[in-house]
Structures are given as structure tokens and as C-alpha cells.
């Protein structure tokens, strides 16, 4: 099984160039606006901190102005709600109190659901773009692992990462919006006057979702790291055995084949470094802006909840707090996805045969 890649390696080794390996594995398909042509070709070093700073600098100004305007509107709505609350206390019979409470909760819910829908759509699109890009990177990384002599590690990591990408796609298409709708409905029902206390149900939904996500990401992370490490060790052993056997049993060219394989494995590790760097930069470019947006929205929602409670709108404040907690799950999903992708890329860069 290892002989065919080894022969291919040797041919590449004789023709000698990293460019030909890069072209053969299809690194051109990894082009993205976040990386320049020189960086993709490995002619220029990818400085990840600089990339992170650039991405944050590009995302931050628009994000803050847009969020400030949107949450300014929400604060205006809260001010009106507090006026209505003041009025409902004037009524001695208290007949209008429930109607006022209902209208204020409905108005706040309407505003927040619009914001959340846009935010979840944005995060969903980002996750879809991420899975699409990583699905394009997967064949390249697998080919490079095979070219580097890590056939078993290639199959194991590609299966594990495909599973992860499928899980993320399924979460995007079938879980994200139902989760938002259920959390929102429960939060809304809990905030309405004269209803049963739904707050524990909402809390249970959020905690369970967070727990399931944490379990899924831990399992995938563990599986990817451990299985790749174990199979890479067996690949190393096999590679050395084949090299030794070719050196001993193939007369004259046996040693030359082994040396060529070693040279190509070195070239492949350079390309792997470039591909891993590109993958990391693009992962940040795709997932960091939605993560920042969710974090800013979470912060501003907490601020609005505090303002609502200060203005005497207890129910609205509670609704905003509950809905803000929903964003924790979205933040966890984005952060977990990013962490697993980085783990995969780091393992991919690090995996190589000991020559």
C-alpha cells in the first residue's frame, strides 16, 4: 500500500520540485480573499497574528456602528416600555396592567427576534462557507499526508474531519434555527404576564444544548488527535521498514530510492506548513467576524437587560437576559468549530514520517 505513494514520491524527488507536488495535490483550489497568491504559493510567510489583527480591524468598525444603532433602537423601545409600566401603576383597578405588560413584552420580543434571526442567519452562512472551504481543503490535506507517507493517518484524519464537517452542516441546516425558535418561544412565554414559569425549561434547553455541543466537540477533537497520532506512528514505522527493505534488498538503486523518498517527504512537509497556514488564516477569516458579532451582541443585550431592570421593566429585562444566554450556545458552536478546525490543521502540519 505504501509502495505506490513511495514510487510517486521518488519520481517527484527526481524531478525535484515542491511546486510540482503542490500542483499535483491541487493547492490552487485553496485560493481565498484572506490569503494572497504569494502566501498560497509559499513565497511569502503567513503571519497569523497579523492576519488576526487585519481581520479584526476590518470587522470591528462596521460591527460597532451597526450594533450601536440597532441596540440604540432597542433602548428606545425599552424607554417607551418603562413609560407604559409607569402608566399601568396609575390604574387603581389594575385592569390595564396585563395589557401593558403584554404589549411591552411583545414589542421587545419583536425587536430582539429580528436581531436574532439576522444574527443566526449570518452565523449559519459563515459556518456553511467554512464547511465548503474545509471540504475543498480536505482532499489537498489528505493527498499531502499520503504523499508524505502517512497513508493510514490520511484515511483516519480525513474520515474524522469529514464526520466533523457533516456534523457542522447538519447543525447549520437542521438544528440552528429550531434551537433559536424553541429558545425564543420559551423565553417569550416565560416573560408573558400570568403564565406558568417557563424559565427552568429555557434554562434546561440552553444547558443541554451547550452540554451536547461540548460533548460532540470533545469527542471529535479527541478522536481526531488520538487516531491521527496512533496511525502516524504506525505509518512512520512502516515507512522506515520499507526504506530499510528497499535499501537492503534492491541492489544499486535501493538506497537512492530511500534518499529520494526522504527528500520528497521534506518537501511535502514544507507544503503542508503552507497549506496548514492558509487553512488557519482562512478559518479565522471566515469564523472570527461572526464570533465577534455574536460576542458584541451578547454584551449589548446584557447592557439592555440591565437598563430594562433599572427602568423597572423586570419581565423585559428577564426576557433579554434569557435570550442573551441563547447567544452563549451560538458562541460556543462558533468557538468549538474553530477550535476543532485549528486542531485538525495543527495535527496535519505536525504529522509526518520520521525519516
Amino acid at each position: 500500500m505504501l509502495l505506490l505513494p513511495l514510487l510517486w514520491l521518488c519520481l517527484c524527488g527526481f524531478t525535484g520540485q515542491e511546486e510540482s507536488i503542490a500542483e499535483a495535490v491541487g493547492t490552487d483550489s485553496l485560493a481565498h480573499p484572506a490569503v494572497t497568491k504569494e502566501e498560497l504559493a509559499g513565497e511569502r510567510e503567513i503571519l497569523l497574528w497579523d492576519k488576526l489583527w487585519e481581520i479584526t480591524k476590518e470587522a470591528a468598525p462596521g460591527l460597532f456602528s451597526e450594533s450601536a444603532a440597532t441596540f440604540g433602537g432597542l433602548m428606545g423601545v425599552l424607554l417607551l416600555c418603562s413609560l407604559l409600566h409607569a402608566l399601568r401603576h396609575l390604574s387603581p383597578g389594575g385592569a390595564m396592567a396585563e395589557a401593558c405588560a403584554f404589549v411591552t413584552v411583545l414589542a421587545v420580543s419583536g425587536v430582539v427576534y429580528g436581531l436574532f434571526r439576522e444574527l443566526f442567519l449570518y452565523a449559519g452562512q459563515a459556518l456553511a462557507a467554512f464547511t465548503e472551504y474545509l471540504a475543498a481543503l480536505l482532499p489537498v490535506s489528505t493527498s499531502l499526508l499520503i504523499a508524505g507517507g502517512n497513508t493510514a493517518a490520511a484515511s483516519v484524519s480525513s474520515v474524522g474531519f469529514s464526520l466533523f464537517l457533516t456534523a457542522i452542516s447538519l447543525i447549520c441546516s437542521g438544528v440552528l434555527f429550531p434551537f433559536l425558535q424553541v429558545s425564543f418561544s420559551v423565553g417569550f412565554a416565560a416573560a408573558l404576564p400570568g403564565t406558568v414559569n417557563f424559565a427552568p425549561i429555557g434554562s434546561w434547553i440552553r444547558n443541554t444544548s451547550a452540554l451536547l455541543l461540548a460533548f460532540l466537540f470533545s469527542l471529535l477533537g479527541f478522536m481526531l488527535t488520538m487516531q491521527t497520532a496512533v496511525s502516524a506512528a504506525s505509518d512512520s514505522f512502516l515507512f522506515r521498514t520499507v526504506r530499510f527493505a528497499s535499501g537492503v534488498f534492491i541492489p544499486v538503486v535501493g538506497n537512492v530510492l530511500g534518499d529520494a523518498a526522504r527528500t520528497v517527504a521534506g518537501s511535502v512537509s514544507v507544503i503542508k506548513g503552507t497549506v496548514g497556514g492558509v487553512g488557519t488564516a482562512v478559518t479565522f477569516a471566515i469564523l472570527l467576524p461572526p464570533f465577534l458579532r455574536v460576542a458584541v451582541y451578547r454584551l449589548l443585550l446584557s447592557l439592555c437587560a440591565l437598563l430594562a431592570k433599572l427602568l423597572g421593566c423586570e419581565k423585559e429585562g428577564q426576557l433579554l437576559s434569557d435570550l442573551g444566554s441563547t447567544l452563549n450556545v451560538l458562541m460556543g458552536l462558533l468557538a468549538g468549530t474553530e477550535a476543532i478546525a485549528l486542531l485538525y490543521l495543527a495535527t496535519f502540519i505536525k504529522t509526518g514520517v520520521a525519516v
Binding site: 413609560l83 383597578g93 385592569a95 403584554f102 404589549v103 425558535q181
Partner: protein
């Protein structure tokens, strides 16, 4: 309001049947004055909300606020006149009016789901 109170107290001795009318007049005048001040304060807020796509929510709250103000003053006047049944009806009318205002937004919210 203090002026209305003084007039009311004076009128109470001379002809008590007019006191509810003076109280109503005082209430309406104060209400109009309050609403003018409130409108001046809330108009920029409503305009800003229109730009942010929140005009429906602001409109709902402003209408509810106006209805609640009118119904509160009406029911208070009715109570002052000793008509507590009418006061309750005024409050009920306000409640129904406010809840019926919510229906379009509720439908809109349900459609988003």
C-alpha cells in the same frame, strides 16, 4: 393642576355639581400639555426607529401609551364622579384596544417562525 385644584375647591362650596367638569377640564389640559412635551421628546426617537426598521414596534408602543393615558384619565374622572362601573368599563375598553393593537405584530412574529 394646582390652579384646577383651587378652582375645584372654591367651586365645591358654591356649586358642587360643576366640580367634576372643572376636574375633567384640568385633567384634559394637563394631558394635552403632557402629550405635547412627550411628543417633542419621542418624535426624534420614532424617526430614528424608522431608519432602523423598528417603526412598527415604536408605533405599537406609542399607540398603547396614548390609549393607556386616555383610558387612565377617563377612568380616574369616572371614579371622581362616583361612577366606578363606568371607570371599570373605560379600563376594559383600553385593555381591549391595547390587546387588539398587538395582533398584527403577533401575526408578524408568528410568520417569522
Amino acid at each position: 393642576m394646582l390652579f384646577a385644584l383651587c378652582v375645584n375647591l372654591l367651586l365645591h362650596r358654591v356649586s358642587p355639581e360643576f366640580t367634576p367638569l372643572t376636574a375633567a377640564a384640568g385633567g384634559v389640559l394637563l394631558g394635552v400639555y403632557l402629550l405635547r412635551g412627550l411628543l417633542d421628546a419621542l418624535l426624534p426617537l420614532a424617526q430614528a426607529a424608522q431608519g432602523l426598521g423598528l417603526s412598527a414596534h415604536m408605533e405599537l408602543l406609542l399607540k398603547a401609551l396614548a390609549i393607556a393615558l386616555v383610558c387612565n384619565s377617563t377612568s380616574a374622572l369616572c371614579r371622581d364622579c362616583g361612577e366606578s362601573a363606568l371607570a371599570d368599563k373605560a379600563e376594559l375598553a383600553g385593555k381591549v384596544a391595547i390587546l387588539s393593537l398587538c395582533i398584527p405584530l403577533l401575526v408578524q412574529l408568528l410568520e417569522l417562525f
